[in-house]
């Protein structure tokens, strides 16, 4: 299985519900700066661009990590970060060509999307999006 989030930029209205759902579910607090998904707002172009880890096959972040804090979940294809193992060196943020491993402002470590690893309802952001701009897709089926 290789699952991933997929973003339909045209549908995003910039409400930030996905960021609030992500931090609410994973951290128990509503904080956009903790979210593993972010909306980049291009106000002048009238566009909002959601971005998060696309669970790429190459997984540069996983290979770059010196302490093996990022592991592959073979059921979903997600690259899952262990906060307990992470030492906050941030090499993964440099290795990721998409810029989707995020700084965590208070712990000094990093966070990344793990597709809400293990949650039977699927990723919280997908369920929270009022316009279905975020899809949860199975790449192996394509």
């Amino acid at each position: 299985m290789a699952k991933s989030l997929n973003f339909i930029i045209e549908k995003c209205t910039g409400c930030h519900q996905c960021e609030l759902a992500c931090s609410g579910m994973n951290d128990g607090i509503f904080n956009q700066d903790l979210s593993r998904i972010r909306i980049f707002m291009l106000t002048e172009e009238g566009k909002n661009v959601p971005y998060a880890c696309i669970q790429c096959e190459e997984a540069w972040c996983m290979h770059a990590c010196p302490v093996e804090a990022i592991k592959l979940n073979r059921d979903t294809g997600a690259k899952v970060l262990s906060d307990a193992v992470c030492v906050g060196c941030k090499v993964c943020t440099i290795a990721c060509p998409y810029g989707t491993v995020m700084y965590h402002p208070s712990s000094g470590k990093v966070v990344k999307c793990d597709l809400c690893d293990g949650d039977e309802d699927g990723p919280a952001c997908v369920a929270s999006c009022p316009t279905s701009a975020i899809e949860f897709i199975d790449l192996s089926a394509a």
Binding site: T13, C15, H16, A21, D33, G46
Partner: protein, 613 residues
Amino acid sequence: MSWAKRSLRVNLSAGTCTEEPTNMEWAAQYLGQRGLATKYLTEEVDPKVDPLSPENKLIIATGPLTGTNASTAGRWSVITKSPLTGAVACSNSGGFFGGELKNAGWDMIIFEGKSPKPVYLHINNDKTELLPADDYWGKTVWETEPAIKEKHGDPNMKVASIGGAGESGVLYAAVVNDMDRAAGRSGVGAVMGSKNLKAIGVRGTKGVQVRDPRAFMKATNEGKKILEENEVTGTGLPTYGTNVLMNVINETGALPTHNFREVQFQDASKISGEAMHEEGPDGHKNLVRNGACFACTIQCQRVSKVNPNHWTVKDKPQYQGESGGLEYENAWSLGADTGVGDLDAVTFTNFLCNEHGMDPISHGATVAAAMELFEEGAITEEQVGFSLKFGDAEALVKITEMTGKGVGFGKDIGMGSKRLCEKYGRPEFSMTVKGQEFPAYDPRGIQGMGLAYATSNRGACHLRGYTVSSEIFGIPEKSDPQVTEGKAGLVKAFQDATAVVDSVGLCVFTTFAWGMPEIQPQIQAAVEGEYSVDELLKIGERIWNLERQFNLAAGVSPSEDTLPKRLLTEGAKSGPSQGKVAMLDQMLPAYYEARGWGKDGIPTSETLSRLGL
């Protein structure tokens, strides 16, 4: 929980920023935002104070749900004494500023005194500082906001600022955030300008904690589902925005036009929500897309573009991009009320109002009054500088630019319709209550709105008791718009419920789909203490009476609970309500009774003590 439990007091005279605990006892009694800040205002400000003097205070307030994932929970308010009405002002805005302020860990900012020089407040979580605004004073909102973000090198910063209108004391100047969202009404921007406060720039990364996150998310998700399935909040508003009302209200015979001389506008369809969707012969479409405020799943915002070939923007590339499009109120005031049926000109004029920071409702309505003064010969071409007739789009644009910049006859327009019409000897042309201009519903066609306008604590306003919901849409129950019976109780119920919604940090548009039983679980899971539906409505009533008490002490007499003579004596000229006047006298005594006030409109001591006031 869900409160930051601290507020920031900024003494502009002394140049100090001081942290203090938010009064949680008051928060329990008044919820937050509109209610809580009004409590602070009544405790700290003499109601008789000159609104533009240093003794007045300006309070920026969030609610307990602001910054959470409850749908529409990005609301914030500006509370002060209004220079337009002399009554309490509470102007509510969306966008992203409110959520950011809460995320920085502040419930409220209380501005007091007056800065000797132009300043702006910079907040980055715990760091708070007043900085010189010499570089920004004289600049528009559209120039100031990006310049402040650039200075601090942070595109994620959120800014609320005033433009030329607030600086020059336009009595209906707004505080504008996120370029095109505004705390628009009652001249809160003029108070900010009088304090030499140009802007507030805030960045917050602390997050907002609720009492029970899982229960809260369950409650908010259920609420979101109801909004999604509701016809108005799930389909009508996202597709057509508030301007879906233009054709509906015109057909009802309640669309005031030509300064309320008539109740139906021949060009209504040309400036309607539907027209914004239409592609013109050259392929241009006014509406680019819909947008959302912070955490909003209704997403009614219009992102619009003026046709680049239109005369308003042809040689002005800075106005050819996307920006906040027409709401129903603005399309009405700048269009129908002035008799202008040119969608591009009205959209452009709305851009100008955002850019210069002024309330498009009051502005359009004041221009409409000026047009009547002009046509009746009370003001002349020499005084204005050009002809100012109904339907003249070029004159509308010109006078708007002059008002925003505070030059020429624009200075007279900036006084608002009441003072303008008094100055030129025809006070009867001013369509105002307590000095504030009417919004877009003619009470001759929707009787309940007449009572709502007459009794609104901030002067004529549709957002203090929106009985249009019931009288036109049948939400929660249909009532006949031409009937006065039962409207007293209806208006009171809407006023009290709206006070709760405004105070908790939600958008009033949710109430098309949510009643208090849908809102209560969201509040309950977020804050400490027990809140039943009845308790919440009692809080709403308490807030209403507190505002009333402030106004009475300020010298706003119950005799001002009335409507302009035109609406009380001149019948509607066409439509389903032809011949009807606003029958306020049939509703007002019943309203005072329903409120537990004396026949003189003053709350009885029993009522006050029942509400703990």
